[in-house]
Amino acid sequence: MKIDLTRGMKKIRIPGTLPVLLLCLAAAAVVILFFSNTPMETLYYFFPGVLSNSLYLGEMLNTIVLLSITGLGIVLAFNAGSFNLGGEGQVYTGAICAVLTARLLPEMPGIPGISVLLLSGIAGGAALAFISGVLKALWDVDDLISTFLLSAGVGKLIDYLITGPLRDSSSYLMTTAPLPEKFRLPSLLIPSPFNISFLLPLLLLPLFHYFLNHTRQGYELQITGRSSSFARHSGLNMRIYQTLPLTASGALHGLAGALVLTGTYFAGIQGLTSGLGWNGIAVAMIAGRKVPGLLPAALFFAWISQGSKIAVLHSDISLELGAIIQGVLFLLISSSVLRIKSRRRR
């Protein structure tokens, strides 16, 4: 079972995922044609509608920031041969840790306060992924499954915290009390949530690209990912490379969660991750597990998800378009990758 699960993933080298992306767009168009009574109008909202005002544009840009951070987390784990399917729970954990920190330390001043909130988010996400890393390093528990299960379970626990003990009883929504004004990242494109955090991917992506390709540790990490037996025989410390990249992956997801809290929702809303973890996987796969591909991949994905949101708001289709596109993407994305690989082998 174990070999089957990971064998394909470790070998992936994608030159281009363009056919899959086109197929997904085609699937979206088919769904719209089938479920909408005014397909042309819906299609308009779906594709160019994103650029029609600063709210939609800013929301998309903000999504690109968040997705490139979670996508980076997935790419990092991939390169070490780990598979992080717990992104969703790690993002959620990051957000709830930041909520708790804001409650515990309300008198912190603004900018250091936000930094502490982000750090607590990073720590929360990292801790969750660290558990899976340890389970893998010590007992060979498949990280693919353990990250997913842990994340799903913890997600329910956080749901409970938000709807139960931490709930803001004055609000009708399932949400914690709003974050104090000083802990919020101000918008750069009012009224959208687009904020200063856009600098983070611009900093993190080159940094990790450099680390992976131009440092000894980065090289060893990639060797571990490509062939664990070769790495073991070369005397690399496998336990470190099975644990740390996964933990760093969780840390990046936790950071994204804290950013969602401080920059977008300003409160711990139930389900605030809105697929950031899953979509990060899709983004990483579209990017071909390479850091430089992350920004364009995030742009593609953010455009699609924002487009489907706008289409739902302005036309007659049901609320599930985004999920359908996402499902189709998952069905196709790992496969296309392998087909290209097998074509190369021949």
């Binding site: 079972m1 089957d4 699960l5 394909g8 993933m9 769904v31 479920f35 399917l85 389970l135 007992w139 060979d140 528990v141 498949d142 693919l144 499954i145 353990s146 997913f148 299960l149 842990l150 799903a152 379970g153 913890v154 997600g155 329910k156 626990l157 749901d159 409970y160 709807t163 139960g164 899953w278 996987i281 289709i317 049901s318 609320l319 599930e320 378009l321 999920a323 359908i324 996402q326 499902g327 189709v328 993407l329 998952f330 069905l331 196709l332 994305i333 790992s334 496969s335 296309s336 392998l338 087909r339 097998s342």
Partner: protein
């Protein structure tokens, strides 16, 4: 009380038996959840449109197989990662059911057709329970007394052996996924037809619990059935005990995932011990 527990264990037993088939053939089928939900929807939809429980059950069976064909397409035909394909199905199916129900009934919520009759029963057991128990017995015989059973078991354990005998393991795996789709289809039918209503998300982690049951039952048929019954008893007990234990129901939702992880962890510890012992 025994019958109540058995009835509530039925969808679980059916799904777990289906999952066991793929598990023994070497495919981790995490799409059980999506298969159950999709066929629960199809069952009520078709039973409501046709007015026949029988056609509804048949619809559930086919819906489950249809979804498993999607799984086969992504996993084997396109050679994708089974876990990602399974996730895709688990994301896609709930979204599709909502969209279809929106299109047909104009609402995204509960479907409660007026004309659904009650499920056929013998001696207090409904037809799904009888099917589940019969399936377990038949599977026991097939697994250990027939060539097909041997092929299925060796598919998961020694693929090379099959190849050397001229049997294509991928074909066996595909068939088992299809069968697990049929089983999950019946599980979905048992879930929704017994109530005569479809509620979005009504599978509520049953696919995942079925996976736990497979590992808790040490991948053996009687063990798996027993584990399913145990889960239903625990659930029944927890529902009764909620009042005085004070465990909030939202918290209980996290249990299946942690239990699965714990079961897998124990499984891995055992495996790594026996490996070093050799």
């Amino acid at each position: 009380m025994i019958l109540v527990i058995l009835a509530s264990a039925t969808p679980l037993i059916l799904a777990a038996l289906g999952g066991l088939l793929t598990e023994r053939a070497g495919v981790l089928n995490i799409a059980l959840e999506g298969m159950i939900l999709g066929s629960a929807f199809a069952a009520v939809l078709i039973a409501g449109l046709s007015g026949s429980i029988f056609l509804g059950t048949l619809g559930a069976l086919f819906a489950g197989m249809l979804i498993s064909m999607l799984f086969n397409l992504g996993t084997f035909t396109l050679k994708g990662n089974p876990f990602i394909t399974g996730l895709g199905i688990n994301v896609l199916v709930p979204a599709l059911t909502v969209s279809i129900s929106q299109r047909i009934y104009g609402n995204q919520g509960i479907i409660r057709p007026e004309n659904i009759s009650s499920v056929f029963k013998i001696a207090g057991m409904d037809m799904f329970t009888i099917t589940a128990l019969a399936a377990a017995v038949i599977m026991l015989i097939v697994f250990f007394r027939t060539r097909q059973g041997l092929i299925i078991r060796s598919c998961g354990e020694q693929e090379d052996l099959l190849i050397s005998r001229g049997i294509n393991p991928v074909k066996v795996k595909k068939q088992m996924v299809l069968l697990s789709g049929a089983f999950s289809g019946l599980a979905g039918g048992a879930l929704s037809l017994n109530l005569g209503v479809y509620v979005p998300g009504m599978s509520a982690g049953k696919g995942w619990i079925a996976l736990v049951a497979i590992y808790l039952g040490y991948r053996r048929i009687p063990g798996v059935v027993l584990a399913c019954i145990l889960f239903s008893m625990a659930e029944w007990g927890a529902n009764r005990a909620q009042g005085f234990l004070g465990i909030p129901p939202t918290l209980i939702l996290s249990f299946p995932y942690f239990l699965t992880l714990a079961a897998l962890w124990l499984f891995s510890i055992r495996k790594s011990r026996s490996n070093t012992g050799l």
